[in-house]
């Protein structure tokens, strides 16, 4: 058996599964979004989606959620990895909790965040107990709010361990020697990090951040639990549009998902290219 044939056979199942299921889903979504039933193919659904006054605010909100939470998670994730790598005290506990957090499903985290941060949640009750606030309305609106603060807090809670674990693994693979030599040459702690360590962990950091961004952009259950009624996150808008009784709106819902796939692909491509150029 030739080398190339053997490689093709090893790859075939994976390529088939992902190609048919994932690729097929996107292709079918594209085709059905163009299909207007009897009138043949047209871009009418896309025109309707882009003209839909709910679409752009939803897109802007979803981008904000994904972008802000990813930036924060990346920063805190790297910080947490540095903490775990360096310190002696609490290191075991932090590592254990990181790994525990990875096993906690998003749904559980979102519900927990709701109980913590709603205006009548645990923090609000704490505030009331120590006399800081009197009524629930005095507590800042962190969930069901237009800035999606609660949603971002949840994603940060979940993605810091994710990004942190990957970055930590990279740091341990790289080892302390590079920084040590930089510091022995007189570099400050910050300089050693910024110019020596960061470029080395950047590939892993970017990859993990890209995955976090994509997840935050496309997840349904977290904004369904913590989000405001308007504007809704894009996945919520798309799902509610798809399950509306009027089947005529289904091409619109599918057009929405194709636009989401296209836009997220473009955004991620731009983000990765820009980061690579700078790094």
């Amino acid at each position: 058996m030739t080398q190339n044939l053997r490689i093709a056979l090893m790859l075939a199942p994976a390529v088939l599964v992902i190609g048919l299921l994932f690729g097929g889903a996107l292709v079918v979504a594209l085709l059905r979004s163009l299909d207007t039933g009897d009138a043949g193919f047209s871009l009418a659904a896309y025109a309707r989606v882009l003209a839909n006054p709910d679409f752009l605010p939803s897109f802007a909100l979803t981008f904000h959620i994904a972008f802000t939470s990813t930036i924060l998670s990346a920063a805190f994730g790297v910080g947490a990895a540095l903490l775990i790598r360096g310190s002696g005290a609490g290191r075991g506990a932090m590592t254990f909790l990181f790994q525990l957090n990875l096993t906690v499903p998003h749904v559980v985290g979102a519900i927990g965040m709701l109980y913590l941060f709603s205006q009548s949640g645990s923090f609000a009750r704490l505030g009331h107990a120590i006399g800081l606030i009197e009524r629930p309305a005095d507590f800042p609106a962190l969930v069901f709010d237009p800035h999606a603060i609660g949603i971002i807090l949840h994603y940060v809670w979940k993605e810091v361990p994710f990004i942190g674990t990957i970055v930590l693994a990279q740091m341990q693979a790289i080892g302390p020697d590079h920084e040590a030599s930089a510091r022995s040459l007189g570099a400050s702690r910050w300089q050693a990090f910024r110019h020596v360590l960061l470029p080395l962990i950047l590939p892993g950091l970017l990859g993990a951040s890209a995955i976090s961004f994509a997840f935050a952009f496309g997840a349904y259950e977290i904004p369904a639990i913590l989000g405001a009624s308007h504007p809704q996150a894009l996945p919520v808008l798309a799902w509610r549009s798809y399950t509306a009784t009027d089947l005529a709106t289904r091409p619109d819902a599918l057009a929405m998902t194709v636009v989401i796939a296209l836009l997220s692909g473009l955004m991620l491509g731009a983000y990765l290219r820009a980061a690579r150029r700078r790094g």
């Binding site: 490689i7 299921l21 903490l83 790994q99 096993t103 499903p105 645990s122 693994a169 998902t257 991620l268």
Partner: protein, 271 residues
């Protein structure tokens, strides 16, 4: 050796404490709720305690235990398939260079980059025609989409650090391909398979939207049951279910904490 200033060490200690607290915090009200009988503002702790939420959650009629079983079954099946498909694919990507490799890599990673909702609706249309909606098999298949890339990513990293020379030597000594696989390849890559399988299992275990869309509410996994209870006002049962949902991961973690320490091989596989 440079000694850190005292304030730096204090700051570091404070940060560590804050991180630990932050990681535990959202789970606390869930635990408290599971033992509460009504817990209204402004009470810091419930005024009435009760085990009723646990009784309901563990009873047959609430469907919680059944969905726990279904969730586990789906995750095991999806992970097994991911291992069978992902190990050879990871070997191909990690060991070899071939025309079109970049395209294959892009395809493999695409499911991680494209948001789930974009795939789910199109997939529903496909599965509806194939008759796979509302079936367990359909849900297992669909779980492959987010799990397979992780598996392949990990295995590609493992195989990138793997030297096939050993296999050559074994073959030259007369070992059969099966023996080579069993005694040479497998032991070398097994740690990677374990890590990849764990990741795959976790992704399937916590999957929500794909199960919702393809399972159509007929394949009830634990996240769906939890979501339903939480959005129907039963915070106490939601708390109990949350603990049941997190418990298996906690137990596995405690039992295998040694093997889960960050692996350099895994890091090498991540771009």
């Amino acid at each position: 050796m440079i000694r850190d200033p005292w304030w730096f060490r204090a700051l570091r200690g404070f940060a560590a404490g804050a991180l630990i607290l932050w990681l535990i915090l959202p789970l606390v009200p869930l635990v408290i709720w599971s033992f509460a009988r009504g817990w209204r503002y402004p009470d810091l702790l419930p005024q009435n305690w009760s085990l009723q939420a646990w009784e309901v959650a563990l009873s047959g009629r609430s469907g919680v235990l059944e969905s726990l079983w279904v969730t586990g079954l789906i995750a095991v099946l999806a992970t097994a398939l991911a291992v069978l498909i992902g190990v050879p694919a990871g070997r191909a990507l990690g060991l070899h260079r071939f025309p079109g490799k970049a395209a294959v890599e892009a395809l493999i990673l695409a499911p991680l980059i494209v948001p789930g909702i974009a795939v789910a609706l199109g997939l529903h249309a496909v599965f509806l025609d194939l008759g796979l909606t509302n079936t367990l098999a359909g849900v297992v298949l669909v779980h492959l989409i987010p799990t397979l890339p992780y598996m392949i990513l990990v295995m590609a990293g493992i195989f990138a650090n793997y030297d096939p020379e050993i296999e050559e030597q074994a073959r030259s000594l007369g070992a059969s391909p099966l023996a080579i696989f069993r005694f040479v390849t497998l032991p070398a890559v097994l740690p990677g398979i374990v890590v990849g399988a764990l990741f795959a299992f976790l992704v399937s275990w916590s999957q929500y939207v794909l199960t919702l869309v393809i399972g159509g509410g007929r394949v009830l996994t634990l996240p769906l049951v939890l979501f339903n209870f939480a959005t129907s006002g039963r915070n106490d049962i939601a708390g109990a279910i949350s603990i049941l949902y997190v418990a298996p991961g906690l137990v596995v973690l405690i039992l295998t904490s040694r093997h889960l320490a960050a692996r350099p091989a895994f890091a090498a596989g991540v771009r």
